[in-house]
Symmetry: C3
Subunit: 491 residues, 3 copies
């Protein structure tokens, strides 16, 4: 399921056939002749794309006879010195550690534009970037850094969604415009990142590994570890120590199944805390123009990841719960209970309160999961991009708070009256659900507080630009779009 295997429309049919049947599509007069130094995957894909966009391409290889089979017919494969001489603009598609071997081409490349598409192996914090080193090697050429974030496959098959942006930088404005124009012809969107000093940034881009997920994942794992140990101590270890009760079989499923919902609920509450903190900060300051503290900005930007981690835990909790009747332990317990009921000659066992408790908390739990699924689906990039701001805000905010309320109610119903039963508090360890619902209930109460007319009205004013110390008042319409609407202000 790697990138090479995404199925574009053209796979095995159009693109391969297309290059097979592509006849001499004479490029438009005036279009530059593009050279490519290097014969790896990226060179091949670049050649195909350039040819498909109507350019003439010449490829420079150290063994032209060997490489000619790899390239489309329209691209001419020749020696490196030939290619460098003929081309107007040259893609340097070689490993950065081999840039120095191109030094003999310096005269041929003098005055031309070189595009460095190389990637490094590690994140380079300091020290010159590959592009800057290339610029030192070829002082008479104009170096443009770009195309290194596009995979060979995307180049060959055509751009889609988020991989359309190509980040470029160069010291020469003219060279950069040339490459930007080429970029657009190929169907990508060039993003101008400035001078060549930005090349370090650009080279580091494809080396990051899900950076915005680190804090949410660490948070999830920490909460999981904490609650698992708490439940283990409370449900398995203490009974073992005090009553010699062997409940260790509960570790793989039951203990995990009471830990996952704790993590899910706390993470879900954590999604809505920063929004409320931001609102209360703005109310406290009386203005919206002060910058939030960095930690709050960071927290606000991680809400989606926190929410998706919460959804994953909730979904796993559902699956674990549905597995409970499958287990042998559940079967044995049921059979033993039947035996006991026969022994006690109880004909009709029925505890109405316990029955209602379970029916209610299961039903509410399923509703909460359904709402969380809606939130998760609308977080998918393609779905989110098809919603306008009001719709997205309605779902993530309104439906989100409903999901939080449902999940809290699910936990309260699950707890029922155990919170008030003193035997549950032995060893000073309260029942887990009591620990867990503190934060969500605070979040829901804070949100309700923001519905109070005085608070709501002042917040709305602040978000339309009012500042307490400026005493600027405006005539505001009654209804308002929810917090978070992109705002413009006249200051």
């Amino acid at each position: 399921m790697t990138d090479e295997m995404s199925r574009p429309l053209m796979q095995d049919r159009g693109e391969r056939g297309g290059s097979r049947h592509l006849e001499a599509s004479a490029s438009e007069p005036g279009a530059p002749l593009i050279g490519i130094l290097g014969t790896g995957d990226l060179s091949r894909s670049l050649a195909r794309r350039l040819v498909a966009s109507g350019y003439q391409v010449v490829v420079g290889s150290r063994s032209p006879s060997r490489s000619v089979a790899l390239f489309p017919e329209e691209a001419e494969v020749t020696s490196q010195i030939e290619a460098a001489s003929q081309a107007d603009l040259v893609f340097v598609a070689v490993f950065p550690e081999h840039h120095s071997t191109l030094v003999e081409l310096k005269p041929a490349l003098s005055g031309k534009t070189l595009v460095d598409v190389s990637n490094s192996l590690q994140i380079n914090q300091s020290g010159p970037s590959n592009a800057q080193q290339l610029a030192d090697l070829f002082p008479e050429s104009y170096i443009v850094k770009g195309f290194n974030t596009i995979s060979a496959w995307t180049l060959q098959m055509g751009p889609r969604d988020g991989s359309r942006q190509v980040f470029l930088c160069s010291d020469s404005q003219h060279a950069k415009s040339l490459v930007m124009h080429l970029c657009r012809r190929m169907g990508f969107i060039p993003v101008d990142m400035g001078a060549l000093s930005s090349s370090l940034e650009i080279e580091n881009l494809p080396l990051y590994l899900l950076p915005s997920w680190r804090i949410p994942i660490i948070c999830t794992l920490s909460l999981f570890l904490f609650f698992y140990l708490y439940n283990f101590v409370r449900d398995i270890l203490l009974p073992f120590i005090k009553e010699k009760k062997n409940d260790f079989y509960k570790m793989p499923i039951e203990t995990i199944n009471v830990t996952l919902p704790c993590v899910a609920l706390v993470m879900l509450a954590l999604v809505y805390v920063p929004g409320l903190l931001a609102a209360f900060l703005q109310l406290w300051w009386g203005t919206k123009y002060n910058r939030f503290p960095n930690w709050l900005d960071l927290w606000l930007s991680r809400r989606k990841q926190l929410g998706l981690c919460s959804f994953l835990c909730a979904a796993l909790h559902a699956v674990y719960s549905l597995c409970l009747p499958l287990r042998k332990s559940a079967r044995y317990k049921l059979l033993n209970a039947a035996y006991k009921q026969v022994l006690d000659k109880v004909e009709n066992q029925w505890d109405e309160e316990q029955v209602w408790r379970m029916e209610l908390y299961l039903s509410v739990g399923i509703m909460a999961l359904g709402m969380l699924s809606l939130l998760a689906v609308t977080s998918l990039p393609s779905v989110a991009n098809n919603l306008n701001w009001r719709e997205f805000s309605f779902i993530q905010s309104t439906v989100g708070y409903c999901a939080l309320a449902m999940a809290t109610l699910h936990t309260l119903l699950f707890g029922w009256d155990r919170a008030f039963n003193p035997t549950q508090y032995q060893d000073c360890l309260p029942p887990t659900f009591v620990l867990v619902i503190i934060l969500p209930i605070m979040v829901l109460l804070a949100r309700l507080a923001l519905f109070l007319p005085c608070m709501a009205r002042q917040l709305r004013q602040i978000r339309r630009g009012w500042e307490r110390n400026r005493h600027i008042r405006f005539c505001l319409p009654r209804s308002d779009l929810h917090n978070g609407l992109e705002d413009v202000s006249n200051v």
Copy 2:
């Protein structure tokens, strides 16, 4: 999980770093100097995007010294009058209620292009739009309405999918072309909506809240209410009235669990009804060039939403069903049945027919759910866009009808022979499943009717342009692509 938190590639790395390191990228000679009046989120994002696209930007603020920290280094922050004088094209990024405060800038803005990016708070049915009011305030400037549907985040991070389209309108063709060119440089797709009178339409666009979902959601809720009351009366209320049986515990889960599949099946049938009505109408008229009635057009355009509501109900039904053995009520019933079996000294209880009934209808139900999941996944925008017409039609039509057939079979197997058992019809209330399968069976029979050679051939002819009253016959190839293929006609 709000829009501010979508993780673009550049978050915290490229974009912030990018603007930090972006050196004086002198814009191309001849490019207009862009001014922005206002200092809110949208202004900041606009400034970042314009700078990244290679433009020179000057921002007009009422407190320049306070605002300069908020903007990238390359954008010059100065007084409003300064910015208005220097800029060639000005984005008016202020709240619409503050447009009048800009009146002092009229001379400086005379003869220039102003882009109104404001949004209203409510849907404006009549009365002048913000853009028109701005045009009245600045009669000597050329007003272009646009960019109001793009959120601040999309502007800053770059366009993706559906949010790439920017709707523009203006009375001045020259001003509109200028802004369209700017739009494309920023990576968006401009859509020309005509003269400034279209600005009301454009301003209302981001204020709609899922308009195409209203009818399907109302339909789902109505069906749910109807079937829930029907099942409640039939399964709980009547037994309570007649036999004093207290089955109210069934309300949260069991009654919901027999209601959801009813809603799902009826909604799924409703997805395929309009297509069949359209086909029969075309057969009746003998031509495809008559317009369908408005209600049929509307119904045809809501099929995806109806199908997704059906899928949601089916998925919830699956989860509720899987929850049934978890409940205390199920446990008590099982234990009581074991007790009874011991009392009756029955060693081996086994009803082969009942066993087979359940195995079959569960298996068929899971298959139906699997096919519905396939339909739901291919409705996702990114997946749907990667399928060509023939593939999409195959899945939604062929697999869809199979899912409907499976779901109907699941219901018939669930009902087994209860439909023929007179005791099920007491109080003149037939079993719910009998009510539910009427529509799906009619739909399936109608679809089979369209397979009859005479009907199929005539429909194919009609869809290739034949008209009964024109007596135009063509030589048609045998096989044909399924109904719904984009058709072109020679009329």
Copy 3:
């Protein structure tokens, strides 16, 4: 849920209203006047899109008075000869079988560009394409083939994702550039496919039906058939023949439920086999510049589809497993076991080993399913495109192998010690799980072998361009990105 129902932002509001309110947006001077011959869906959508992009449009119809109501106000509807004379560029939007009826327009169309947007009904392997036949009919016009892969809906509403690419070909470079420019103005990405001889290829494009899924689906169905028969013979038929045991009720659910995981596990292993074969081939050859055999290339390109089939089977297996306690057969078995336990007077039935076995293999199975879900979600086009290469490779490769390991462990725990129990091997049929885990274990061992320092280092060298027969050694940094990184080489 068909294509007509995708909800673009403009549905029922902008686009319909837009065309209603669009006033005379005089097209830019110098823009060609576009003609459209034909009045079907595609013509209407084309007209709307062209008008929205600022072009003047004239439509040629055989009954102008009848068709005028179908088109936007800005498009002029007139006779075919009028439209052909006025227009500079003409879209021939008629069925290919009616092209010959346009012959009377030859003089009017002489010297103009005609765009053939027709689609055929079947894949045309040989023989002239529609575009070539049109070129024969109109030797004095310049034929461009294009726009036939774009559905009417996409044309009307604007391009999104994968449907943005428009494949064009023509013998005239000038005509092709004209249409490519038009294409870009409409918001699409033109892809130059060469001369008119490519038109056969382009016309076949929208007629393929999921070609890259054929082999994976056939593979899945074959494996399913094989394992179902194996399990049926082993679990139902042989006991029936030998002990007259009637277990046929197991066919709809239990036998399917032991077949699905076999298929899922083998398919998942098949996803990783080609990557390992490729790595070992490169180690054997000592170079990466030899081309892989065709079957290996094909297998490598189907990995995503194989993985998604595996995920579907795994998910269905989970649902079938969760259904097991719902069945009447399970209920009867439980009640009979309770009766037996009462008869045997066993108060506390508990087999610690069996309990632990089930807890463990259920828990590990859920974890494997969770990881597979992650793989499936990141295969969605929009999600995959938002990940860079390193992230995508990490998830598909690292998380993928973990999922395979988890699934193998799940199967081993399920098997427990049955593999060593001779009674399981009667009739020379080993337990199914023994058959199934052979391939996954080989895959995991091979992957571990590639971690050995000598193998890993040599493979890394080869992938950075080293060749055994060239004796070229480079100084390589220690860490390396995982296999599959786009590589560039200096050869």
